[in-house]
Amino acid sequence: MKVKLSYILGSGIVLMGFLALIFATPLVLLASSPAAITAAIPVRTAYTLNSCASPCTLYATTGTIALPGITNPITFLGYSTSPAAGSATLPGPTIVGTASSPVSVTLVNNLPNSALTGLSFPTLSSQPESTGLATAGTKAYTFTPKAPGTSLYEASLLVAGGKQQVAMGMYGAIVIRPADASKSAYGTGTSSDYNNEAVLVFSELDSNMFTQTSYDFHNYKPNYWLVNGKPYSATTSVIAGSPNAKVLLHYLNAGSLNHSIGSLGLSQTSVIGVDGKALKYSYKMVAETVPAGSSLDVLGTVPSTATIGSLYPVYNAGNHLDDNGILYKSTSPTSTIKYGGMMTFVNVPGTSTSNVTITPGLTNGSSPVTIGATVTDAATGTVGGAELFIDTAPTAASYGTGQPLTLVSGSSYNASYSASALTSGTHTVYVHGKDALGNWGAFASATFVVDKNPPVINGTVTRSNRSCAAGTCTANVTINNATDPTPTSAIVGAEYSVGASAAAAGSGTAFTITKVSTTNNYNTSGSPVAATNGATVWVRVKDAAGNWSAAKSFTM
């Protein structure tokens, strides 16, 4: 059992220090790392599928990972979509294929120290590489998966050192999509539809394996418990969800121990598939054991009561929630409790929308209003869009069908909205945004008034203080009992025209009026109206929404 690691890693240990120089900061983790450590605020970076769609080329090479409590990043062996040394990710990229279609994976051996390696796909293909590719060797593996599902790929155990290569990080997930291209684990009608998904590869790691030049597997004693190659305190893998959303979690165990994985607060958490096959009868559970080398497809539902920012832990139910054995508060009751180990969160991102404005807030619908809103996304930091609905906040099924708002600057969005089709009355605008992953957030709303009903001059229009010179007269006007029917808005202007019939509304000469206290009568308050002596003067009034009344006349 005693293995000279130098055969596998050789100068990789020396290389490690060198890599540490290349990666000047230990916070630089994996090339595809969804998140890095930050000093403040829980890391809430959105999970992204580190995928390599078939045909996929994987380079077997080295990578580094920073572990809390270990000064230098440790160097592991893994897979990368890049040929660059040090670019491997832990776990390797997720190979994505489609059921009943050939999957093609090309392996390039860029391992250091002339190590041989090969690939195996234990649940999918019975032909693991047995000889091993020499340095720079290339081999294409092709197979046609019969059914959708999730399984592991790993370094071929038949090649010398293969077992150690797996223990040192040479593994990853394969997700086979259903042939019907539906957004489901197993196809339309299989009750496996989901809104968001994540591949969660669980493993444990004995850091001594990586830092000692020789390691005896009899001494295997894991001290780090990883989700997608990271302990909780190093990074937080976060999975997007929204209220009522279904989250598909592909659990895979690439470690050597069995891990029971539990969740807290999610509802309807069900195992819908095992080892790359759909279950005929799914079953609900709180925690389920993922045996070493096994995989489960788990479907959870974000509770309807979730709010933006809700976090639902997914964690090792055997409570491996430490890094390197350190229990915080074990030395001093006043020290900060810290968590580590095998844990991540299902996160409810969704965007936060506020400050909905409608300009103008009162319109007769003849010209568009401008609807603005502030849309932010705390979880992912990136807003993927915003939309508005009028009068009814729709159900989730209609999300994405509203009128889009466009980004103005920063977090300000607006849209020009035509209210011409709306009836008179108060209307509500609902605005919400979606994050970069397409999760729609909660609505914010504001109201505005559409007033298409013109004011009415119920009484007469009379003149006073007439003054004539050379046949042309000026006079003040009194408009008696002018009102505005529901929705009531103020009478704010007037115009007049002279002639046998009234000029078209809005084309007359404007004059200012003032409401007479306690009455509905209005008097000229600025310049008087002017007309030929004896001419017919037509007067209209206008409400705040811009509607003109019918004209009434008086004789100058």
Binding site: P42, Y283, M285, S310, P313, G318, N324, I326, I337, Y339
Partner: protein, 450 residues
């Protein structure tokens, strides 16, 4: 420390289970006595603390272990009128509620650091009226999976009230969500039983989950490394990668303490036994099975079985095994592997297949003469008769704990390293099944079981 040798057990099996019991139950054991008469708890079976409102206190205390050791523990004790500051017990009480109840649990904290409770399997849990959520400090470090009951100060204990609607029946774990790995290891855990609405004798809301309420049991499995407990008591550092469980517990006891009655006076802080008692199946007198609720709060999987009997696994984690149209997907299984953080509900029926009877259906072999039998230390639980409900003479000087001609079988984790107390067999995560004769047989033979 001498290594536990599974060989002892294997050899014992060859001698037959009854003789095995003679061998392993000798010694300091004083079980079988009616030691719980002073309490109101049933002698065996699930001891429910009924809700839906509960008042608990996180406290420290000491438990005793079968080898004479004791261990410093943290646990959830019950606050009562007689014990307003909470009475330490281990594990926490089994909280029993009905489906639909609004469960309210107030947790006072008498420990020097924050503690909390999480309820895996429940949704929409509230803490002091607001949704529970993971807690972070100003540096973004996770401090707790849920809101905490603050450490005790000079002003008094911290307090918090958790509420949730018990919306589906089943067996659930509650445990600390703060510094979880340490605090759960220290003993902050317990069980929650939600009974289906209107059917206290069903495990789930379906008639095929009916069980005999007189034979309802719960076994909460945990592991104990004394080094962790000493480190916490002495406030020194503990490296949990060095964890080595020395005690393997059912309901907070290790064998043979597990077969002591509930509330046995010799275990004043460990009120819950796990002896399983049942009577043979009878379509008329005893039609419904026993129900055993397994809960695993430890870090390891524990493979459980009684000898001689399959169980019917009817559900897990608070979910009946049922298809989308209510199909019965329960299954018979001999060994139930209970993973960390999981619960299993299993029904057991003991069927007297052969109906041996000394008068009407004698065992067709020559029985060993009693003078040819010896019992280790002169002590046995054997009745002297192989016939259920019958007792017979034993060799002179032999003491029998047998009460009414009952049978015993072992019931245990078959990870046999766990059948040990501080690495020394026999002990650990191990209990007994006691098959009492049918009531009619007791009447006819005059050997009444109590």
């Amino acid at each position: 420390m001498p290594l536990f040798r599974p060989k002892i057990f294997v050899n014992g099996l060859r001698l037959g289970v009854l003789l095995l019991m003679c061998a392993i139950l000798a010694g300091s054991l004083s079980a079988g006595q009616d030691v719980s008469a002073a309490t109101t708890s049933p002698k065996t079976g699930l001891v429910c603390t009924s809700g839906p409102s509960f008042s608990l206190a996180a406290k420290s205390g000491y438990i005793s272990l079968p080898d004479g050791n004791s261990s410093f523990m943290w646990s959830y004790g019950l606050v009562t009128g007689a014990a307003p500051a909470g009475a330490f017990q281990f594990p926490g009480p089994f909280l029993c509620v009905n489906q639909g109840d609004v469960v309210s649990i107030t947790l006072k904290n008498y420990l020097a650091e924050d503690v909390s409770m999480i309820f895996p399997g429940q949704t929409n849990v509230m803490a002091n009226g607001v949704p529970t959520a993971p807690q972070f400090d100003v540096n973004g470090q996770l401090t707790s999976l849920t809101q905490v009951s603050a450490a005790k100060t000079t002003a008094g204990p911290g307090t918090i009230t958790y509420t949730f609607v018990a919306d589906h029946p089943g067996t659930f774990i509650y445990e600390s969500g703060t510094d979880t790995e340490k605090q759960v290891n220290m003993g902050l855990f317990g069980g929650l039983v939600v009974r289906p609405a209107g059917h206290p004798d069903y495990a789930y809301g379906r008639s095929d989950s009916q069980f005999n309420p007189a034979n309802e049991y719960a076994m909460i499995m945990s592991e104990l490394d004394p080094a962790l407990h000493q480190a916490v008591e002495r406030n020194i550092k503990y490296d949990i990668t060095q964890q080595h469980a020395r005690y393997w517990m059912l309901n907070g006891r290790s064998f043979p303490d597990t077969i002591q009655d509930n509330s046995a006076p010799i275990l004043p802080k460990q009120p819950y036994g796990s002896m399983v008692r049942l009577q043979p199946y009878s379509a008329t007198a005893n039609p419904n099975p026993a129900l055993v609720r397994y809960l695993n709060v430890g870090a390891l999987n524990h493979p459980f079985h009684p000898h001689g009997n399959h169980g019917r696994v009817i559900g897990r984690d608070g979910q009946a095994f049922a298809g989308p149209n209510g199909e019965d997907l329960s299954y018979e299984k001999f060994l139930v592997l209970v993973g960390a953080g999981q619960t299993y509900d299993v029904t057991y029926t003991w069927t007297d297949l052969d109906q041996w009877n000394p008068a009407t259906n004698p065992i067709p072999v020559t029985l060993p003469q009693q003078q040819n039998l010896t019992y280790k230390d002169g002590v046995t639980w054997y009745s002297g008769s192989p016939y259920l409900g019958h007792q017979d003479d034993l060799p002179t000087g032999t003491t029998s704990y047998n009460q009414c001609g009952e049978y015993y079988q072992v019931w245990h984790s078959h990870a046999l390293n766990e059948a040990a107390n501080y690495d020394l067999g026999f002990g650990g995560m191990f209990t007994l099944e006691r098959i009492d004769p049918p009531t009619a047989t007791q009447t006819s033979t005059g050997h009444t079981c109590s």
